[in-house]
């Protein structure tokens, strides 16, 4: 794993504003930072802009104004050719999973490794282990359309963490699983955080968040981010 400087913020948003078309600003003057190795929850009502904020962090969306600093790179100034290297340091759990329906669960999870050129022998060794850990050992060859919502979510989480990312962004990662599985997945995120990953979990599941009060909670409301605890 890469050496990281504790003092650095892995993500820093400076004066971010976001507007879709001519509508009102979804995000207004957002200032926030995720220090290296931190674990945060991001809460807020549905439609508050949590997913938009996360999309900016995984380089899927550009803000209307303000600056997104990622791994000390100003994303607005980063050359297109340099984006893959930044994205490989980020693991994302999408709210809608974004799994590839024509690939098996194993191949979906292997995707971040394959784009990095990891050897097939290593992929065949590690990916089944991870899928086994998230309770999908019997579904390695299953394609996403044949999986339940919860199973898809676990495949999506496995894909996000398989590359041991420096930054893990999870958008409603427990939305489709029961509390027991949800807790287990959050323990997985905790474990990754202990190994050095910076974690941001966006959720509206207050019950789950209240079980992890030892982690700071950022709340998004009316386009502004506030630190709750």
């Amino acid at each position: 794993m890469r050496q990281r400087t504790k003092a650095e913020d892995i993500v820093r948003l400076e004066g971010i504003g976001l507007r879709y078309g001519p509508g009102p600003e979804v995000l207004q003057d957002v200032h926030m930072a995720l220090p290296t190795g931190s674990f945060h929850f991001l809460t807020g009502a549905s439609g508050a802009g949590k997913s938009s904020l996360l999309r900016m962090m995984f380089l899927g969306l550009r803000p209307t104004r303000g600056r997104v600093m990622l791994f000390n790179h100003d994303t607005a100034q980063t050359r297109r050719a340099d984006l893959p290297a930044l994205r490989r340091r980020i693991g994302v759990v999408f709210q809608d999973f974004r799994l590839l329906d024509h690939l098996s669960a194993l191949d979906n999870v292997a995707l971040p490794l394959r784009v990095r050129g990891v050897k097939e022998s290593e992929i065949r060794k590690h990916v089944p282990e991870l899928l086994s850990w998230v309770g999908l050992a019997d579904h390695l060859r299953a394609r996403p359309p044949t999986l339940s919502g919860g199973q898809k979510q676990r495949v999506a989480i496995a894909r996000a963490v398989v590359g041991r990312p420096d930054l893990l962004l999870a958008d409603e990662p427990t939305g489709n699983v029961d509390d027991q599985i949800g807790m287990r997945l959050l323990y997985l995120f905790e474990e990754l955080n202990r190994l050095g990953a910076t974690v941001l979990v966006a959720t509206h599941n207050e019950t789950l968040v209240e079980r992890f009060t030892h982690y700071p909670r950022l709340h998004l409301e009316n386009g502004l981010v506030q630190k709750v605890w």
Partner: protein
């Protein structure tokens, strides 16, 4: 390397169904055109070879037979003195009459006609020098003698043949352009269809080149398969043409053959088509993705 595992669902695309057949047709047309180029080139070479080693001296008859014979002897002597001339053989009057019999009949009248006398001259084309200057000197030295190097009448035929060769080569180039354009269009369609998959690949850290390589491998595979079909169609078509051409051979038309390099060029067409498809697909994907924000 090619046609292996792909992260993109390209195998079920419409492109997979029509592209090989289009490439097959293009390879067939290119193969026929290439065969035409090589065969025509062989014909022209054959004509050139046949005429380049010989020239003919024509001597217009003088008033009497003795005068004509004298002119022939002077012309023979002149030609023997030209550097690079290997042999000089005056054609006997009997042989000339025999040559004219098929057209004028065997009447004794032919024997009384004031026929021009011909002298066959074999030359070493590399050593003989400028034949035009030789012809002028001959005309000045021997009254009524002219030198014919056969090229004047052959030049037009060669021009026609060379034009046909250029046309055939043009068809090969055109076929290549049509194939590349089709691949570009098909690749653009595929990029639009699989936009969501490409977005996911980008988000997990795929480079444009990683994505382009998958399109390129697929295009190579389809192009090569189509090329082999085209080549398979070429064999019976060429056999029929060869059989028809066999009947036209003889006399002025030499034996029509395809040289070894011709066979090689035609055999390599599927590989060329596949490489062209691969390069076109790769360039299209790289170009399109580079324009994304």
């Amino acid at each position: 390397m090619f046609g292996g595992r792909s992260d993109l669902p390209l195998k079920g695309d419409v492109t997979s169904r029509y592209l090989p057949w289009l490439v097959a047709l293009m390879v067939f047309l290119a193969a026929v055109s290439l065969v035409a180029v090589f065969v025509l080139n062989g014909v022209v070479e054959s004509w050139n070879r046949d005429v380049s080693g010989t020239v003919t001296v024509q001597v217009v008859p003088a008033g009497d037979k003795a005068g004509t014979d004298r002119r022939v002897q002077q012309a023979v002597a002149f030609m023997r003195g030209v550097p690079g001339v290997v042999s000089v053989k005056p054609m006997s009057r009997d042989k000339m009459v025999a040559l004219l019999t098929p057209w004028l009949g065997s009447s004794t009248v032919i024997r009384d006609l004031p026929l021009p006398r011909l002298i066959d001259v074999t030359i070493n084309p590399d050593a003989v020098g400028d034949l035009v200057r030789v012809g002028i000197s001959l005309k000045q030295s021997v009254p009524g003698a002219t030198l014919d190097d056969h090229r004047r009448w052959l030049a037009r035929l060669i021009t026609v043949s060379r034009s046909l060769e250029a046309l055939a080569l043009g068809i090969v180039v055109l076929v290549g352009m049509v194939t590349a354009s089709t691949v570009v269009y098909a690749t653009r369609s595929n990029l639009a269809v699989h936009g969501d998959v490409i977005e996911v690949l980008h988000l997990v850290g795929a480079t444009d080149d990683y994505i382009a390589r998958q399109f390129a491998d697929r295009a190579f595979s389809l192009g090569f398969g189509g090329g082999l079909i085209g080549l398979a169609l070429t064999v019976p078509a060429m056999s029929v043409i060869a059989w028809l051409a066999h009947g036209a051979q003889g006399g002025f038309i030499p034996r029509l053959t395809l040289p070894l390099i011709g066979y090689l060029a035609v055999a390599l067409l599927p590989v060329a088509a596949a490489l062209l498809a691969m390069i076109a697909a790769r360039a299209t994907v790289r170009g399109t993705l580079a324009r994304l924000p």
